[in-house]
Amino acid sequence: MSSPADRKYTSSHEWIQVAGDAGTLGLTRFAVEQLTDVTFVEMKKVGTAFKAGDSLGEVESVKTTSDVYAPVDGVITEVNKAASDDPSLLNSDPFGTGWLVKFKVSSGAGLAKCVDAATYDRDIAH
């Protein structure tokens, strides 16, 4: 299944969608399939400022615990409570209702390192 073309992708398997200075981020389907059943989601609090490369929080699965990394600089404006309450949303709808955080982008320079859906899908196929 191909990844949606309306967003960018990181090498650590986050997706990021930016409109103006408003960003949304989650994990890709490939990432959640590798994690297997997600059991716990804890993102940093609203108001937390972060730089590209910082951890935005943790996602735990039956198998492992994994950090979620920011590809850009910004400040968290919203955390997906539905995903914290029901972590299986990440497995069932990673590109939609299973989003993790919304944020205000303070520097989008890191976006240049992200790739488009076609490139990402090719990378994970290897």
Binding site: E33, T36, D37, T39, F40, E58, E60, V62, K63, T64, T65, N91
Partner: protein
């Protein structure tokens, strides 16, 4: 990387394949939690062909196994299997195994996949040291092994063979098909009733059809569905069963692992008296008040999962390490096994796990975490 004789079966059922102990094996099909619940409520079929299957036969076969096994072998009946440890001379655990007794001087030993080469070397070394007349034949590559586990398994297996449901726990029978032999034992590693089957590698498709003839594994309400190594791990953890590399290891004293039933320190008395490797070291530990470290079950508040090697604390004092953990699908709370100091091993003791960014509050509970209701 070895491919199991069930490789095509895994791909057909959309397995996610992962490297495991030199094999490429399915970690999951539908999902680890879904498979776990399927096994607890009905039935699942696991490919465990990566485990080593070693035929040990000849005039001194029993004597070799008495030297290796922490339990007696001489009193096993043909058709009986027995769980045992095999230790190093310091009393650490080289492996845990199931011994099948086919006949007076013919046995099969099932060893952990990751330990197969090591244990073959160990068998040969002990054989040579005692100048024993034993043939050691690694049949792993020419056979397959599947486990079919769950409360509804014995019901439909009876359609394939009326004998199998009459087997007692830890007994096995050999079913002769036209050109093949199936070794079927009432054993498992999930805490559920069920069977494990050893069969020739080339007979997998035919044998599965015979055993599961009325089961359409793709149907949503199938009695038996494929289950991967992921659910096998969470099932055995709920059942309080130790796993080599986690609760068992060369540096972990056998008396620490919560499997005292599998250690016969009086094996050197009576008829057929034999000393097993590691026995002297274990006796010393026992005489000096027992092991300093004990395997315990821990149950936690919250939703975070303790992981192997995380420190266990009693307040500020580090008292041990987590050996395995998961969010228990049956109990719906995080559970773990841990090796901790004997003075904090009593059920009810409050302990904490240091998960780096969080502290998990837990309590020692008796094992197993889950016991199947009597059927």
């Amino acid at each position: 990387m070895h491919e199991s004789p069930l490789h095509a079966f895994h791909l057909k059922h959309n397995a996610q394949m992962v490297p495991f102990a030199g094999w490429t094996m399915p970690i999951r099909y539908a999902g680890i939690v879904e498979e776990h619940k399927q096994v607890r409520s009905s039935g699942g079929i696991f490919d465990v062909s990566h485990m080593g299957r070693v035929k040990v036969s000849g005039r001194h076969a029993r004597r070799l196994l008495e030297r290796l096994c922490s339990r007696r072998v001489h009193d096993m009946q043909p058709g009986q299997c027995r769980y045992s440890l095999m230790c190093n001379d310091r009393g650490g655990v080289r492996d845990d195994v199931i011994v099948y007794r086919h006949d007076d001087d013919e046995f099969t030993v099932v060893v952990n996949g990751a330990n197969r080469e090591k244990m073959l070397g160990h068998f040969e070394q002990v054989r040579a040291a005692g100048d024993l007349s034993v043939k050691i034949d690694d049949t792993t590559m020419k056979t397959a092994m599947v486990a079919i586990q769950g409360p509804k398994v014995m019901g439909f297996v009876g359609k394939f063979s009326t004998e199998i449901p009459t087997l007692k726990r830890y007994r096995f029978t050999v079913k002769n098909l036209v050109v093949a032999k199936l070794t079927v034992s009432r054993t498992g590693y999930t805490g559920e009733d069920g069977i494990e089957v050893i069969l020739p590698a080339g007979m997998v498709d035919m044998a599965l059809k015979l055993i599961l003839k009325d089961v359409d594994m793709d149907a949503p309400d199938a009695l038996v569905k494929p289950a991967g190594l992921g659910s096998r791990d969470s099932l055995r953890l709920e059942a309080g069963m130790p796993l080599y590399g986690h609760e068992l290891g060369e540096e972990i004293n056998a008396l620490s692992c919560g499997v005292d039933f599998a250690i016969s320190l009086d094996k050197d008395t009576g008829e057929f008296a034999e000393t097993f490797i590691g026995m002297e070291a274990l006796k010393k530990v026992q005489e000096n008040g027992g092991p300093r470290v004990r395997l315990v079950g821990l149950a936690f508040e919250g939703r975070r999962t303790p992981r192997q090697d995380m420190p266990v604390k009693s307040g500020e004092r580090e008292v041990g390490k987590v050996t395995s953990g998961c969010l228990s699908p049956t109990l719906d709370r995080p559970i773990a096994m841990a090796l901790v100091n004997a003075d904090v091993a009593a059920p009810g003791t409050r302990l904490q796990v240091d998960a780096g960014r969080a502290v998990l509050e837990g309590e020692v509970v008796s094992l197993p975490f889950y016991k199947a209701p009597k059927g």
